[in-house]
């Protein structure tokens, strides 16, 4: 995917998150946080300043709209920072491979591991910051589980549907 398409997709996903996914509130307070697709779409680069700064701004925009202080900015920043380590771990890629790297061309097992790990880390930090105390840890873990399942289902369904379209 080229850079303009990535930009359009991330903006579109941000608005979808604000207008649709933040208002689902399935059985009380379970929402999918599909906006982390930003981290998966953002092109790999050896220089990490750009993605860190963009992730911070992206999360902060969402915080402005959902009155949450800085919890989205903080949790998105952490997975933006950890992303390259997991790419090395799961895909065994080096600096040279970054330019041609595309999640669609990798095997599903590796992509699954990578996406699931980052999603669970992000959701756990997000709910811990939202809770902001060591009480109710059970609720935090349950919320992480439910929301992760929700987000991952939407992410894989979405990426599957969109990939089919590109082939035609």
């Amino acid at each position: 995917m080229n850079k303009i398409r990535v930009f359009i997709w991330t903006v579109l996903i941000l608005f979808l998150q604000i207008l649709v996914f933040n208002n689902i509130n399935f059985s009380g307070n379970i929402n999918p946080y599909v906006y982390i697709t930003f981290i998966f779409l953002f092109p790999l680069n050896k220089n990490r300043f750009i993605i860190l700064f963009c992730a911070f701004l992206y999360g902060l925009t969402l915080d402005f709209f959902s009155d949450t202080g800085g919890i989205h900015a903080s949790s998105l920043l952490i997975i933006a920072f950890l992303r390259l380590y997991f790419i090395k771990l799961f895909f065994k890629k080096n600096n040279i491979d970054y330019l041609l790297f595309d999640l669609h061309t990798e095997t599903f097992g590796q992509v699954f591991n990578y996406v699931v790990t980052l999603t669970i880390i992000h959701h756990f930090i997000l709910f811990s910051l939202d809770n902001f105390s060591f009480q109710n840890m059970g609720t935090v873990l349950l919320n992480t589980l439910y929301s992760s399942v929700f987000t991952l289902t939407l992410y894989f369904a979405g990426s599957y549907i969109l990939r089919e379209k590109q082939l035609n």
Binding site: L19, N25, G28, N29, I30, N31, R48, F49, L52, F53, F56, G59, L60, D63, F64, F65, S66, D67, T68, G69, G70, I71, A73, S74, L77, I78, F81, L129, D130, N131, F132, N136, T139
Partner: protein
């Protein structure tokens, strides 16, 4: 010096990450405390205006339900007007010397909710009233069925309301059939159920009792309905927790009233003087 530059160069991404993370955590902490959240909130003109545009579309879908609510409220108010007009007619037949004691204390300003939130632990609402509608901090927000929250941050056209579904929220409430009062808080679990704490042990509470605002603060006037008692969790300690089912459905709100208290400054001055 060489070592320091080498260190910075080696860990430059991590240091940049720490800097941004520090800012983010700072914003999180500021957002937790009342009145301190000056920067990140949805009451500014951009986000408020955005929600305003979206709401002007979605409003049409709920017009029927809202109309029904307003008609019901009108019915109640009309009956009250009839009752009071008779009272006034009676009073007018007598002579009144002191007109100052008949002035209005509370003033209602009508508005709409731009953004509703009830999923998290610290929920806020955005309403389409701001400084231009003479809204200020710490004013009560209610609707026809019960209380909603307290205004907390005001911009020119919008304001942010701390919902009663916020773990920082603490509202004075009492039983309708007696004068025992306690404070109404939320434990963050179910958005229909709030907790009434600090109520004296000798107060007799039965399930189904109505809870109303206490009127001990300058924010909420007395006797606004809140909800009814479901059950009480009685421990061995002094702590007694009363679970309250709200009359309001907090997930489905549209039209609201903000209450302005004309006597607020007078009462505040009085209380401050006494403390000195």
């Amino acid at each position: 010096m060489q070592q320091l530059i080498y260190f910075i160069q080696k860990y430059r991404y991590f240091l940049f990450f720490l800097l941004l993370q520090f800012i983010a955590i700072n914003l999180v902490i500021n957002n937790r405390s009342f009145h301190k959240s000056k920067f990140v909130n949805s009451a500014n003109s951009f986000t408020g205006g955005f929600y305003n545009k979206i709401n002007s579309i979605t409003d049409y879908l709920h017009l029927n339900k809202e109309n029904l609510l307003l008609i019901n409220e009108n019915l109640v108010l009309k009956n009250k007007v009839e009752k009071f007009s008779q009272l006034i007619a009676e009073i007018k037949s007598k002579k009144i010397d002191d007109t100052t004691s008949f002035k209005q204390r509370f003033y209602f300003i009508e508005g709409k909710i731009e953004k509703n939130q009830f999923g998290g632990n610290y929920n806020f609402l955005t309403i389409n009233l701001g400084r231009k509608d003479s809204i200020s901090n710490e004013m009560a927000v209610i609707n026809s069925k019960g209380i909603i929250g307290i205004t907390e941050h005001v911009s020119n056209n919008y304001s942010r309301v701390q919902s009663i579904l916020n773990r920082n929220s603490k509202i004075n409430a009492r039983l309708k059939n007696s004068s025992y009062f306690g404070s109404l808080m939320w434990n963050g679990i179910d958005y229909n159920i709030l907790q009434l704490l600090d109520i004296p042990r000798q107060a007799i509470i039965k399930s189904g009792d109505t809870i109303v605002t206490g009127g001990m603060s300058t924010i909420f006037p007395a006797d606004i309905p809140i909800g009814k008692v479901i059950d009480t969790e009685e421990g061995s300690s002094i702590k007694r927790i009363v679970n309250i089912q709200l009359f309001n459905d907090m997930s489905n709100l549209k039209n609201i009233y903000v209450i302005k208290d004309f006597d607020k400054h007078e009462i505040m001055n009085l209380e401050n003087n006494r403390n000195e």
